[in-house]
Subunit: 329 residues, 2 copies
DNA sequence: TTGTACGCGTTATCAA
DNA sequence: TTGATAACGCGTACAA
């Protein structure tokens, strides 16, 4: 490897001079030219580790994501990438494969890398998670789940549930089926659902059935093949767009038509909802903006500025073709 | 920051002893216990930079991707993540936003980080790219595009095109429309297309029209709204699954039914092709395996082992509902 | 088993 | 403007 020493020797100057050239640039024209030439010749590149070691700063931000193949995650990630780049931070993205053990590991790894801050996409939040984060001295930000004592940035999931509930009632529906996910995920499994339930429960003559699945399309599809023929619901609320896409698929397979036989909606606002037929009514979440904001917030944390414990991102009902007025049958 | 020196002082031993404990572990029971306790108390974590600086090894692999929101990219990435984890490498993922300048930047950045090897998802490959890579002393691997002088791992795109061509001919089709992408992307824009063209051209009474779009769904959708009413083709070949999904969407919008009015196929084998109706015939690419193999190959490069310049990944025709026999109209 | 001393590549301080 | 030197945190000969 070619080091600053090599450059100095070949240029016939002290390495401190080369260093000065590299940073301030305040050197004489003559030596500057000489150094520039040697650097070009040798293809020298400063060693970031030595630099970080000295400067006690890495300019790196660590990100922990649950999986690499999620549309929403990637949107947020894209926002994180953009903003951190603007701010001169280098990103280290680690994947936990939806496994808590690996989440702990990744927190450790990133701490050892001496990243200046960590952003973690939270799924379920156990006491061990909180503990692991507190151990770390590194500024920390959770995305997606509200956490005690630790800063977080979340969606208004309860409100999103309310929006769908209100909208469905307005359409005249009274018989609902909610396809949810496990409650370990508080944001999606509890709040989103509760917002919906609290809203529709307020009405009269309402029936609400509930089914639980996971975040994968395939599970939702399999389950839908079973429950669709049995349900009396005229409006099916899916906890995510992926689930909605899968249920729609199963509906067609079984010969139902949406929204004639029942209305159907999701949450998220993924691109996929716009490229199926009918297009799916959903609540659009500002994923990219969330990524931008999360970096802003983390950087404030790094700089020890005051920031609110929880930041909430607003969302928006998007009405598409998959929902329509209740028709008496 | 708590360093190995602090631990040593508090434990009343030399830092070399602590270091030995950290690495070999060969210390007396007594000191071991003492050190362990102090480390637990202080939450000490070794500084990876100092470590890398000393060891001249970072155990990091750099990855350059064109964008964060691509299904195929993420599948490959997932494979890369899995294998590099198994092999004890830490991943640094950087995003180039489909911009050549940023690709060069990222190559630089990763080199400075002293990653041991770089995997880059290639889009278009210019002489500047080749030059930038050669500048770097870092072992380098291109994914997705064949490159002179530089190691690469690619799909059998030409063969994939052949498969679709052969299949379409067998179904009795004679009038084709190929929806392609710019030729800057040699793999998809040239080879995939050429494999198809060379195959169907061999027959008689064939007509082939060609349209060019980009990789986004929205562009393909907009264009499809225009060309679908005009085309006489009975089989539409889309260069990617995303394009196929968009064309299918436009077809429905316009009142056509697939495959009754025309057959339609894509390339890639994305999950999305299975969750639309009709499901889309495609060629399934082994993205995840490609990720695994690319790490294997890069590691061999790092260890200066002999490896073939180009590795090819096989693919497979997947027949779904969007294609059927040609029916005389 | 333990401790001393040095070097990894860089930057910062201070004197020349 | 330049150069000598110390320091960042760690690992490792080598000596004790």
């Amino acid at each position: 490897m070619v080091t600053i020493n090599d450059i100095a020797r070949k240029a016939g100057v002290a390495k401190s001079t080369v260093s000065r050239y590299l940073n301030n640039g305040s050197v004489s024209r003559e030596t500057r030219n000489k150094i520039e030439e040697i650097i070009r010749e040798t293809g020298y590149m400063p060693n970031n580790f030595a630099r970080s070691l000295k400067a006690q700063k890495t300019n790196m931000i660590g990100v922990i994501i649950p999986r690499l193949s999620s549309a929403s995650t990637n949107e947020v990630l894209s926002g994180i990438d953009e903003r951190s780049r603007q701010l001169g931070y280098q990103l280290i993205i680690t994947n936990s494969d939806q496994d808590s053990e690996r989440e702990f590991e990744n927190i450790q790894t990133l701490s050892k890398q001496k990243v200046e801050g960590i952003i973690m996409f939270a799924r379920e939040l156990t006491p061990e998670h909180i503990e692991a984060v507190k151990q770390t001295q590194t500024p920390f930000l959770f995305i997606g789940q509200r956490a005690e004592d630790i800063h977080s940035i979340i969606h208004q999931d309860y409100e999103a549930g309310e929006k769908i509930g209100k909208y469905a009632l307005e359409l005249g529906h009274r018989h609902f089926l909610f396809i949810g996910v496990p409650e370990k995920d508080r944001a999606v499994g509890v709040e989103r659902k509760q917002g919906f339930l609290d809203t529709v429960r307020a009405g009269h003559g309402i029936t609400i059935d509930t089914i639980e699945t996971d975040f994968s399309r395939s599970s939702a599809y399999q389950k839908a093949l079973k429950f669709l023929p049995e349900t009396l619901a005229t409006y099916i609320v899916c906890a995510t767009d992926n689930i909605a896409v899968a249920v729609l698929k199963a509906s067609k397979e079984l010969g139902y038509s949406v929204p004639e036989d029942f209305s159907l909606s999701g949450f998220g606002g993924y691109e996929a909802t716009a490229y199926v037929s009918p297009t799916i009514t959903t609540v659009s979440y500002p994923y990219r903006e969330m990524g931008l904001e999360s970096v802003d917030k983390l950087v404030k944390l790094i700089n020890k500025e005051e920031v609110p414990h929880v930041s909430e991102m607003k969302n928006e009902l998007v009405i598409n073709q998959s929902t329509t007025f209740f028709k008496k049958v």
